[in-house]
Symmetry: C2
């Protein structure tokens, strides 16, 4: 990879970030695809600055922005000139890795992987593969990012198909992990059992849930309900053994009610659930925003806006930031194409915390045990 002269990358290679000694045990380095997403690079670069300003010291982390160097530098200058608080982000924790190619949001994933070896997506993954970053993050072409991650980092031994885990807010606080949220559209029952294992390890080691409860997404709680996939997976989940605490069928609403920590489904259904929830949340929040706009007086308006802000923090998908691709040899985080700087900042934070947890090693260990 042709690294630029800019601060971090070489220093990481040499064992320090801006004078701070780093190692995989100490500083967590996240490679961020600066060119990925509907508002890239502006919102991605700004999101990185916000993250670094607010959490990098506490997380002891650094960010490598991967992409068009001139454009990234221009965005950084804008941020520094802008005078907002995050203009004071810790400069010694930011690096740029120049890449010359771009993957469009609609490009065919496999073709993008094959034909664009110098894309920001390719380099972002490569940094993890070479051990120069601990995690990869992109709001760009999801398919291309997944294909590249799977081809370059490879599947963990024993993993049939990597899966996307998405976090959903629970009424009781915390999050439910839904696996798969879009990577695999037509699944076999045995894949759902593996999703249960992957999701459980993530819930335990990243979210801190002990003995996470696993639900099988269905159209009813009763045993008699379900489609062919659910019938097949149900028996397998009941006999999955340690590592999968299966509690039974759950319905779409149960995801949000707090009775389960991990929900498994095929990627088609998970994607519909995710996008549907996003859609109705956006509708509700826009209605509430209109309520604030039409408020009879300033005090009421302020109260409504304050409530809206707190609701967003609990339920807006823009706040959630990144979904891990579970099953590949490295922490890989996929963000929504629509991510704004706030969503990017949250996403990098999740990626940094998850990468530090070592969840990938736990998955590796767990599958080694299963094969033995």
């Amino acid at each position: 990879l042709p690294l630029t002269e800019f601060s971090v990358p070489q220093v990481i290679a040499a064992g320090t970030v801006g004078g701070v000694p780093v190692s995989s045990e100490r500083t967590v380095v996240i490679a961020v695809d600066a060119m990925g997403g509907d508002y890239a690079p502006a919102e991605v670069v700004r999101g990185a600055a916000i993250y670094l300003h607010t959490h990098a010291a506490e997380d002891n982390s650094a960010v490598l922005l991967v992409g068009d160097e001139a454009r990234i530098r221009a965005e950084l200058r804008d941020i520094e000139a802008g005078g907002r608080v995050h203009a004071n982000y810790p400069k010694d924790r930011l690096g740029i890795v120049a890449s010359s190619q771009l993957v469009g949001m609609d490009e065919h994933p496999m073709e993008a992987f094959r034909d664009k070896p110098d894309s920001s997506i390719a380099y972002t993954i490569q940094l993890v593969q070479e051990g120069r970053a601990h995690g990869a993050f992109s709001a760009g072409n999801t398919g291309a990012f997944m294909v590249t991650a799977t081809q370059v980092l490879q599947r963990i031994e024993g993993v049939k198909r990597p899966a996307i885990a998405t976090l959903f807010p629970k009424e009781t606080g915390g999050s439910a992990v839904v696996v798969d949220a879009g990577a695999n559209v037509d699944c076999r029952p045995s894949q759902l059992v593996q999703f249960a294992l992957l999701g459980s390890i993530y819930a335990e080691h990243v979210l801190g849930v002990r003995n996470p409860r696993v639900g099988l997404l269905s159209n009813g709680e009763e045993d008699a309900k379900g489609n062919e996939l659910v019938y097949g997976a149900r028996t397998l989940l009941q006999n999955a053994g340690p590592g999968v605490n299966f509690v039974g069928n759950v319905e779409g609403n149960h995801v949000f009610e707090g009775g389960v920590d991990v929900v498994v489904c095929d990627g088609f259904v998970g994607n519909v659930l995710l996008k549907g929830a996003e859609g109705i949340v956006r509708l509700v929040l826009s209605l509430l925003s209109a309520e604030a706009k039409n408020a009879p007086d300033e005090i009421t308006r302020e109260a409504l806006l304050a409530s809206l802000l707190r609701l967003r923090q609990r339920v807006d998908y823009a706040e959630f930031g990144g979904a891990p691709l579970l099953g590949v040899n490295g922490p890989v985080f996929i963000a929504h194409g629509r991510s704004d700087s706030r969503a990017i900042a949250t996403g990098i934070r999740i990626a940094a915390q998850a990468s530090r947890s070592g969840y990938v090693s736990f998955i590796r260990e767990s599958l080694k045990g299963a094969a033995a």
Copy 2:
């Protein structure tokens, strides 16, 4: 059917309801399963009274409450003694049809149909079958209600499998019709094409949408996205001919954005979408309710509660009331088991308006054309 002495039923048979001359062209009569639902019969009976008080005159409609006569009468006495405005519901528009059996919410649908010929569900459907009511409505055991409707009223000629249509709120106002929302879990592509036709007729004749746009629910808008069912259905939908204005694949969020009027999917996916949307809406509204509770002063609290009420009217599933079972020979409406009196009142209203539209005849005509 053993009708009681109470006002309506016999009068309907004789052509009048409480002195008003009725015919199928004039008064719409809805049979309501008074014993169905988590809060039956109290909330169902109250919902009927609210509906009759607020809309029966304008709709020119009447309600037959089907169930345990003594309990229904007791609820009506309570309502009349309660002194709320709906205590003044038009008595000449209400009838009671006594039934002696109850179907529990968890009973096996086919067994309930076979073993309980005198249940409130059986009589509710039978009233439609005998032409003594124009539509049937129940918040009880969905499976039993569907099986009974399908067995007694029978499928419309040419219909492969009846499907549940659910209305989802759109940002642009109005509703999107999602078919199927739970009746058929594993579907073939040709079934989805029929769902498109059924949903389009409902959207046109009940919701007043001209040339409704049909979307195929998928995990991405691109042609390359989708599972096997979507691939198969896509080509068939493109060649479905007049009556189906297919506009392409849509994602979960598009259901709420207003670009399509009818969305087709298998019943498993539709059910997950519906329950998921219900779950997250309940979470958001409960958070907003907590905001109101914790408001710093009375004015802010009132403002938040007023906003909450308006939001509920737009997005709360309790407000939507009833989903038609499309494809059977009669208007049949399924309500959520959790329906309160407000949801029941809305549901009966929807049932009355839809039954008056004659959408069942339009479906019959349309399929006759297709067979020719």
